[in-house]
Amino acid sequence: MSNASLEAIAAKSGQPFPGAPNNWQRFFTFSTDHKVIGIQYIVTAFVFFLIGGLLAMVMRGELITPEADLVDRTVYNALFTMHGTIMLFMWTFPVLNGLANYLVPLMIGARDMAFPRLNAAAFWLVPIFGTLLMVSFFIPGGPSQSGWWAYPPVSLQNPTGNLINGQVLWLLAVALSGVSSIMGAVNFVTTIFRMRAPGMGWFRMPAFCWTVLSAQIIQLVGLPALTAGAVMLLLDLTAGTSFFDPAKGGDPVLYQHFFWFYSHPAVYVIILPVFGFFSEIFPVYARKPLFGYKFVVVSSLIITILSAVVWVHHMYASGTPSWMRMLFMFSTMLISVPTGVKVFAWVATVWGGKLRLDTPMLFALGGLVCFLFAGITGVMLGAVPFDIHVNNTYFVVGHFHYVIYGATVMGVYAAIYHWFPKMTGRMYYEGLGKLHFALTFIGVNLNFFPMHPLGLMGMPRRVASYDPEFAYWNVIASLGGFLLGVSTLPFILNMISSWVLGKQAPANPWNAIGLEWLIPSPPPVENFEEIPIVVSGPYGYGSHEPLVANNPAGELISEHS
């Protein structure tokens, strides 16, 4: 055991490899440092988030009046297709991969990911397939118009007759995104299995690492199914095969199975790390241990397992036999049990705690509220009779936007604010953060709540014009959408100005427990001067038990700050 305090070690220069620039320029290199790659992921993803958001605001502008007057109907089709594709494949996956990339090695006490070069290669695929998708805006015929599901036979139409058309570029981009995700998943699973610090047994691992592991296992097992479906669709489009073309004896419903076998679990790939953020953030700002830690982490794995057997609930209206619908209705209802366990545990964690309502906590609480609402509408949609009634209406759109914006984006914001001091060594401006939260929370509810009554009234999704009776709720939703656009401005201002001018952050500004808070902010290149020896579980708030054996500075947190 060394006597050198980890605190006392000056932050070593942040060079990801010998001779690399130690300033902002390092973010433009093929760096193999997981922290540089993490920030590369987050910033790249955020740029695409803004692009996807602009598309959404054009759509909301179109829907503010019942007539299709702002954009052409085919343009509208392209808009919702690209909005969905960008937001899922180029914002949520990369941003969560970025945060996991940054945090997992720090949280488990490793110096880097298991395969640093593979990690960098996986990241650099993101701008490549992003560009590929963006190029489709500028080719004859424009981007894909078949929705982010790309169901055949709609996706098999090729009005321009060109070999390079929007749908082909879309499929190539999605396939490359799959390659990148598999590379990331191999890396995360290996890192978490093999590189935990001594003493960090499975049940001493922070909940976030558990959720990343659960999510990446889904990527490994689910994504290949989508790859298989995408390869067959691509061959149908380009090589003249007839796997999914009903006119030539193919089976379009099989594509739906391939697609949803991955793309429903993909929702858990998105939401599980966000559950991890909630589990990390609530204990810190409530000053209490995570309630039912073991139940919370094991429920992540149960979600992973159950996620493999629920996909057909997207296909209740696809001519699915009724015995199958009953089976999948049952499994879908079942998945609300492990998620319910988590929600219960978070409420119990916050309950009676000494709450500190800083921006990360506000976002986490807001995200939890939205998730609860989305979970309730999710159970409603899981029920066959209800789903048949609202199938393909705005009710579905409202439900998943509460999951993906309300819970996921707010959870991501919570995580970015919470770990911002660690990543940059600077504090963000609390006032701007709270303004950002207020705008986001109001915007989410204004934008996405009206979609539920609209769906119940029967407004179909993916239409550029609608009956005037739907106008009232649509105007409210559009105003909420524009508010969400505005809400990113204080965030961008806050992030940039704080990174440049913010107050210097201490190693542990939140008095949090965790390996990442024992090292300086920002962490030196190989994170830990000496690999920590973990001697107790995470979330030991109020227990006064030391977390690591070789940290002579003792417990750094005080309950009376």
Partner: protein, 201 residues
């Protein structure tokens, strides 16, 4: 929770450098990758099964069925090569480099024979890639598997070349082990494929 609960199976080589740790984890990572890769094949197999059981006029007009004799010979050669590569690996572990090279080269020859047989079969078939779902799935499955065999033979070629570098391969080598594991994987996939396509007609 007891504080003495230090699991001995956990990673305790914290003093090693990041480069060193990468060496240690490659096999684990490769196995994880193969698990994922097998799901692609599994998806194709399930797709094939669904098509085969649901489509009424499965075979294209004028096609009676598939010839089994040559593919069976091919199968026997490919499956045997899995044993040959196992012996090659054992020679390497005993540091008998020439034995390793001989058996390794034999594996490559058997893999190439398989690819050759596959090509001959493809050229003699009365249906093409675009002849209905049957033609599509047949060429997709055999072609995708064939790509893997080709990758395996290429990897074997690289490993053979590397064995001539001085002081290489002392005490086993990740590349050789991974190539060999990949070869077994390709083999097992072929057995399932053979049963699905040729035996179940």
């Amino acid at each position: 929770m007891s504080t003495a609960n230090l699991d001995p199976t956990l990673n305790t080589h914290g003093a090693h450098t990041a480069e060193h740790e990468e060496e240690d984890h490659r096999m684990f990572g490769f196995i994880v990758f193969l698990l994922s890769e097998s799901v692609i094949f599994l998806s194709f197999f399930i797709g094939y099964t669904v098509y085969k059981t649901n489509i009424t006029d499965w075979l294209p007009a004028g096609v009676e069925g598939l010839e089994v004799r040559e593919p069976l010979i091919n199968t026997i050669v490919l499956v045997s090569s899995s044993f040959v590569i196992y012996f090659a690996e054992r020679f390497l572990r005993k540091e008998n480099l020439w034995g390793f090279r001989a058996f390794w080269l034999l594996t490559m020859a058997m893999g190439s024979f398989f690819l050759y047989g596959q090509a001959v079969e493809w050229m003699g078939l009365p249906f093409g890639f675009t002849d209905g779902v049957f033609g599509g799935t047949f060429y997709l499955l055999t072609g995708f598997h064939g790509l893997h065999v080709m990758t395996g033979v290429l990897l074997q070629g690289i490993m053979l070349g590397r064995s001539f570098l001085p002081n290489n391969y002392a005490g086993g080598e990740f590349g050789v082990e991974a190539t060999s594991l990949f070869w077994h994987f390709v083999d097992v996939i072929w057995i399932v494929l053979f049963i699905l396509i040729y035996v179940w007609q």
